[in-house]
């Protein structure tokens, strides 16, 4: 009797392990950021493009408005695609667009804004990419909708028609 239990047990445990691993295979192994959870905005200190004034994140995002923090760079091609949407948002009166210039050089960034128009109220510099990490960003472009010092929506990649109308609905 004992001899029969053992192979049966082996088969069952192998099937069990196979099933677990097989299920594991179907999980995506591409990073998918958590975009649904609200998070507090991080604290950081940096400089401002153009004026080179030092700025602290506690001084901004304070008024009773929506803010859109947009991570961008002049070398980023999709940033050009989303630019018209940013321009449209910049004329809305209850939202302020704030740029985070990611790993860029000042001259190129200024040229980019000269050629394309500037939707940003203020632009922070992030020369080494560390501030983007504070925000939990991992590439450009990325946008964070902020209200009451909390990130209420995170948009990975360039803004498009859908995300644009979503933002418009949220800030109404």
């Amino acid at each position: 009797m004992r001899i029969k239990i053992l192979p049966l047990f082996l088969v069952i445990s192998f099937l069990f392990i196979f099933f677990i691993f097989f299920k594991g295979l179907q999980n995506s192994n591409i990073y998918s950021p958590d975009i649904n959870n609200e998070k507090d905005i991080p604290f950081f200190e940096t400089k401002i493009l153009n004026t080179n004034d030092k700025v602290n994140s506690k001084e901004i995002f304070i008024s009773d408005k929506f803010y859109l923090l947009n991570v961008w760079a002049s070398w980023c091609i999709p940033c050009k695609d989303e630019h018209p949407y940013l321009m449209d948002l910049s004329v809305q009166n209850n939202i302020e667009i704030i740029g985070l210039n990611y790993k860029d050089n000042d001259k190129n960034a200024k040229n980019f804004l000269k050629n394309m128009d500037n939707p940003y109220k203020v632009i922070f510099l992030d020369k080494d990419g560390t501030i983007a990490i504070e925000w939990g960003a991992y590439g450009v472009p990325e946008s964070f909708l902020i209200y009451n010092k909390r990130v209420i929506k995170k948009i990975i990649g360039p803004l498009n028609k859908n995300s644009y109308s979503e933002i418009i609905n949220l800030i109404k």
């Binding site: 053992l6 392990i17 677990i20 080494d128 990419g129």
Partner: protein, 122 residues
């Protein structure tokens, strides 16, 4: 006197570089356990992407601020979630993952024991 001065200088230089080495060892250890989110299958340590290079810098800065390894993992987990760690923590979602090898090992041991040792004694 001069010799002693030289010795002191040499002592200082070697010690300084030693402490530097220890710190970058820890940085390497941490970045080897961080998944580079935009380059699949690579750790942050191996990757030379923009994201990975920034993350290396962040780890270095956090070490300089005096955070320990666990605190840095915790900090990055709040930013990017559990996925950024190659070595998942022991939690309710991963206990099976951690216990399965031990379980298999014990079962294997029992089988070997039963098949060979008990049979031999018979």
């Amino acid at each position: 006197m001069k010799k002693i001065k030289y010795l002191i200088v040499i002592f200082l230089i070697t010690n300084l570089s030693l402490s530097n080495a220890q710190e970058s060892d820890l940085q390497n250890k941490i970045t080897k356990n961080l998944r580079c989110l935009i380059c699949q299958g690579q750790s942050v340590y191996e990757s030379d992407s923009e994201f990975a290079n920034s993350l290396k810098l962040v780890v270095q800065n956090k070490l300089d601020e005096g955070l320990n390894e666990k605190q840095i993992y915790g900090y990055l987990k709040t930013k990017y979630g559990e996925w950024i760690l190659f070595d998942p923590n022991f939690g309710k979602n991963t206990y099976f993952l951690w216990l399965l090898p031990i379980f298999v090992f014990i079962i294997g041991g029992v089988i070997i024991f039963k098949l060979f040792i008990i049979r031999k004694n018979k």
